[in-house]
Symmetry: C2
Subunit: 343 residues, 2 copies
DNA sequence: CTGTTAGCGCCTTCAG
DNA sequence: CTGAAGGCGCTAACAG
């Protein structure tokens, strides 16, 4: 139980004052390329030597208290055991690290209560900002954050009543590509399997799907959409597949990887010849796509671009806020294009 | 830019002293069921009322500094974009939350440098303890933690020279089950595809595999093991599959889900009839298993048990340490059994 | 170039 | 039941 070494200990040991030690430890380079504090090389080395010998670990609680900063940001995601959000989390982690930030990650399970609870917890931990995927029904929490001037960037989705910076994929264009792919492969009766969630990414895909169908003269395109719940019951995919088959569906767009896996499995169990009887195009990566011939094509979202841009914006907001500026006007939108991948 | 509300503000507003406010805010119930601090109901309500009205958020940096605690624990995992570790992270997050802890998550990519760097970063953030999946070559870092008396629990693996509490799956028994399953299905020439990593989970599986083969009279069982690297090159699975086919393999144990996906895909591309020409049993869940008939069975690790037990131990260690006790003697091992799942 | 000092916000002992 | 006061470890004026 070795007591923590403090700068005081180092100061005593090195025969200097605590402030000298502090200066040495935070030997920052100013914007002008000069050291902010000037310490003689001798004492600098001596202090560092002592610090290393005593295995000094700065106490971040004290530093945080003093500086009013934590260098921690929060990522509020849907569910990190889903590969889509797991990948986002992973990329955010790496990017945060590059910039000297630590990332706190929380899962909402698309539940607004959990969403609020995670946000609250993270605020108590003094995160300096958020990168988040808000759930349906999260408006009040978002509004609170906005009023409180907490730096926040929304990714993957956009909300009409939430005015914060926003980074996401061009889902309309992506759906046009997906649809065109199926048509190009000769599909005549195209359906869509979507999520029940009413969030922009899904809604954009559905609306565009309907527009595409309407453009091809389909009268009631919305009838070609089946929806699966986020916390899906086991029989849901089967019922949907029955419906598809009864309607003579020969082309299918699936709105996300989770429904894709369950629908493909249900089709398989119904002995449907996937990519022959029914052509599929999906959204987001899954490792099942490669097990068909030809492989099931999918829209890959530019996660790298999205996470990078989101972090850039967040850092900028944090900086602005640090200068005491009001960031509530900052609400630019950035849209990146997805890519159709056919392995 | 509304300045943060402090207990001082509340005290002034409520016409009481700061200590009263503090008492009210930490209105703990002692072990004897009584309140630790006695405050009149009147002032209690008044203070709480003011706090709510002013939207008081306790400053955790100050609290941490004062109490020497952060209520943060660190999870150091392999790669959270892998569903296996993503699930672990997710469960740890939930369990930590239940106990009022916040979880920091870091990925090592099985690289000891990254491992050390994550540990260092987390220590600087004053985590109170670790739940970790150490990489090959992490001994020095582990030893450091041990000497420093940092509460640490290792999961998923065990290391001969690391004496900390340990929770993992009985990989030997699991492999016996997997092997017996293949034999029961009539496989005569059984191979194993493993990971190149020399970590206990993999080694235990390999050794048991060899023992099983030897028990069935195979002379050089180690020749039946092919290994794939963690950061796999695209051609690796193909080469392995060629080798398997050339050797007349008709039964295959795969040591983990990541190699399973790539090997299955390579088999598929070679037009091998999976589950007919070659029977497979795998470790760890993947959503590709269900796309074969019969579904590919797999050993499901008891992640729930492992994460729960690991957290229980960690909380215990943290408590012990809080009482100033030396925890370096604590190094119990807990082993849970896996389950063969055939969907 | 170096030392002194005043807090950051909170908890907790010690007096009333 | 309530208040005053000290200090956790660190940083950043401000002096020298």
């Amino acid at each position: 139980m070795n007591k923590h070494i403090t700068i005081k200990d180092i100061a005593r040991e090195a025969g200097v004052s605590v402030s000298l030690v502090s200066f040495v430890m935070n030997n920052r380079i100013g914007a002008d390329g000069k050291r902010k504090y000037r310490v003689s090389e001798d004492t600098r080395i001596r202090v560092l030597e002592v610090a290393r010998r005593l295995n000094y670990q700065p106490n971040s609680a004290a530093r945080n208290l003093r500086q009013g900063r934590t260098h921690v940001i929060g990522a509020v995601l849907s569910d990190m055991s889903n590969i889509f959000y797991g990948s986002i989390a992973r990329q955010l982690e790496d990017i945060a690290l590059e910039h000297g930030y630590t990332l706190l990650i929380g899962s909402t399970d698309e539940n607004p209560q959990k969403f609020e609870s995670v946000v609250r917890t993270f605020l108590e931990k003094d995160v300096e900002g958020f990168i988040m995927v808000p759930t349906e029904g999260s408006e009040s929490t978002m509004e609170y954050l906005q009023n409180a001037g907490v730096p926040t960037v929304v990714i993957d989705r956009h909300f009409p009543y939430v005015h914060v910076p926003n980074v996401f994929t061009d889902n309309e264009k992506a759906m046009e590509t997906a649809y065109a792919t199926l048509v190009g492969q000769g599909a005549r009766r195209i359906h869509m399997v979507s999520y029940g969630m009413r969030i922009s990414s899904i809604i954009d895909r559905e609306n565009t799907f309907c527009r595409c169908l309407a453009g091809d003269g389909v009268e009631h395109p919305e009838e070609r959409i089946s929806r699966i719940s986020f916390d899906m019951k086991p029989e849901e995919p089967k019922l949907i597949v029955d419906h598809l088959l009864a309607d003579g569906c020969d082309g299918l767009v699936i709105a996300s990887n989770m429904p894709a896996v369950s629908i493909i499995k249900a089709l398989f169990q119904r002995k449907v010849k996937i990519q022959k009887d029914i052509r599929i195009v999906s959204f987001d990566y899954s490792n099942v796509y490669g097990l068909f011939d030809p492989a099931i094509p999918y829209i890959q979202q530019p996660l790298q671009d999205i996470t990078r841009k989101a972090c850039d914006i967040l850092y900028h907001l944090i900086e602005l806020r640090g200068e005491g500026r009001d960031i509530r006007g900052e609400n630019a939108t950035y849209v990146f294009e997805g890519t159709l991948i056919q392995e």
